[in-house]
Assembly symmetry: C2
Homo-oligomer: 368 residues x 2
């Protein structure tokens, strides 16, 4: 009996729809070779939803997501909607409420630099030779960004005092820890936990909890780095990392640093995971790390790889289709090795050829 | 009438004494050509003080610092004292109490990559061509590391909750802001303020305050970066920074990232500034960013440049001898351009020559 997975497909704005089309093509091709199929529920989100029905996240879109196995998200935003009040704009009006509604607590960002693309990295060639592949796992719902109290007080002497609060519960740390260790089991089986345990009470509990969790994963090794040292080691030794796990603020900084080190922002996928479904699977939202690129929207030249790799993450983390996820990742790797480049990663190197969105998608489909 | 400056000289452990000797040689040579002189009060600190009198920061050392115009510090620590209780070890037992006693609230770390040493940077050569020169100004006494409450609580349901608190007063932000703007006036007159004003209450006040302070410095331009973006821009465009100013935690991360990007840790000086003396001058402690390097201590091969550049910072920020500070910095630049290299920065490139601590010091003295 064949299994049908239901996916909420939210292409959004800018290049979203055209790169989404390639991801769907990839998924359909995989399904045609397997004993499962996908049922897509296409829904409006972001600026496209504002234009059509007046709000960035229509109730119908949320309902469709609720009745799906996962959300494949494009990207939202653009100059057209920048004059709206902040909370009604595409990003704040759609992505943040979606994260909140579905309790997406784990942000996974693979920092992948293919051997053939190391020249795009801002790091010295000898340090990134052969490429690298880091998975950054960031806690997304706790810590300093959300902790209470947040306050601003005028003191008796006229001075002003501001307060933000970093709060974590052990259960929140355990939850993200398990995501990291389970992800490592599918990879090179090493977790680097990043904290500031020499100074922060939060980090002391973080480190204790990671050490405890590690006992459940005897096949995975665990190392600890202070956050300032991690910021250094990512630059000097990106190849030394497999899975990096850290709290919200540190992850905000380090995942962006890692993306920069990769050199090709248009290649980077991301996953935001929510409720565990058991078996190491989670409901989740999967999207490219890059933006809507309104300047090239509709021109058929955008890089679809981040969207396609986001679909691979969806298979891995929400559906448990690890083999199929790897099939997509290998196909992407192959077309890159074959020299195909969209404009954003084309540098004119001999043996490479500039292609459009559709041709890149077709090549990946052919390589599946 | 000639002026005499009184300096507390605390060489400390490891390579401290031998690199300090070169810094003193440089200061004496400068004085011999000028209408001022230095009076040095050599004092024990760190492991050396533990061995001699049983504690890392003897009262006599503190008293000597109190009656001085500034502190020239070497470095402290080493394997010999690592088995002591943490608070009695050289670093925690000497440096932290000194910082606290003198209210050293501003940590300045020049991130300097000389044109001749860009090959040592982990950044791609085209991005650091011609070198770069960033001054990182970090607030050192406030924020998440020191804010109260810090707590750990077992909740009724058995979960554990930890809290750290990020607190700043506007007066603390003003104080560090003025340090940054005044430093920029002596440089390329641009300040980049780093915050997370889209999320943190602390950062909203930080940004407001920097905008206010900027009005006092019409010759200095001000830009703002979010901390995650700053972590990226430091890598991609280190040449775009002049002075970067940020709060304690962000500065901890970014100043280390910057040091890594410079590529030559043995070249980096630092200043920790305390009570303003007026005229943009401050009491301060000046020390190399690197450590005691116990493995090469006493061998005469350590790089004295960080210590010598720390002396230049002392002249600039504690004594107001800007011209003489620049004289030292130019002399260092000249010996590097002439090809002299201690072992830590020697790569065998043609036109360079490996020298020891004393020969490097002598060459800098000769170039003054
Ligand atoms: Mg970020
Ligand atoms: Mg640090």
């Amino acid at each position: 009996m064949s299994r049908t997975y239901k996916l909420a497909v939210l292409p959004g704005d800018g290049i979203g729809p055209e790169v989404m089309a390639e991801a769907i093509q990839v998924l359909d091709t995989l399904a045609s070779k397997s004993d499962f199929s996908f049922q897509y529920d296409h829904q409006l989100v972001g600026g496209a939803a504002i234009d059509a029905v007046g709000k960035a996240l229509p109730a119908e879109t949320v309902a469709a997501c609720e009745s799906s196995d996962a959300i494949l998200f494009g990207s939202v935003g653009g100059p057209k909607w920048e004059k709206l009040p902040p909370n009604e704009q595409p990003e704040r009006g759609a992505l943040l409420p979606l994260r909140k509604h579905f309790g997406l607590f784990a942000n996974l960002r693979p920092g992948l630099c293919y051997p053939a693309l190391t020249a795009s990295s801002p790091i010295r060639p000898d340090l990134v030779e052969g490429g690298f592949d880091v998975l950054c796992v960031r806690e997304l719902t706790g810590g300093l960004y959300f902790g209470q109290p947040k306050s601003r007080t005028t003191l008796p002497d006229g001075d002003i005092e501001v307060i933000d609060t970093m709060v974590y519960k052990k259960s929140e740390i355990e939850r993200i820890g398990h995501v990291a260790f389970k992800a490592a089991q599918l990879r090179r089986k090493h977790v680097t936990s990043v904290d500031k345990a020499n100074v922060l009470t939060n980090s002391v509990l973080w480190r204790e909890t990671m050490l405890e969790i590690a006992k459940d994963y005897p096949d995975v090794t665990l190392a600890h780095l202070y956050v300032d040292n991690a910021a250094m080691q990512l630059i000097k030794a990106p190849r030394s990392f497999d899975v990096m796990v850290t709290e919200n603020l540190f992850g905000d900084i380090l995942s962006d640093e890692m993306a920069m080190i990769c050199g090709s922002l248009g290649m980077l996928a991301s996953a935001s995971l929510g409720k565990p479904k058991g078996d190491g699977l989670y409901f989740g939202l999967f999207e490219p790390s890059g933006g809507t690129a309104p300047d090239i929207a509709g021109m058929g030249i955008a890089n679809p790889i981040a969207q396609i790799l986001s679909a691979a993450l969806l298979l891995r983390f929400s559906l448990g289709l690890e083999k199929e996820a790897v099939t997509i990742e290998n196909a992407v790797r192959k077309v890159i090795e074959d020299g195909l480049r969209t404009g954003d990663i084309y540098t004119g190197v001999e043996g490479t050829r500039k292609v459009g969105t559709r041709e890149m998608g077709n090549a990946i489909v052919a390589a599946l």
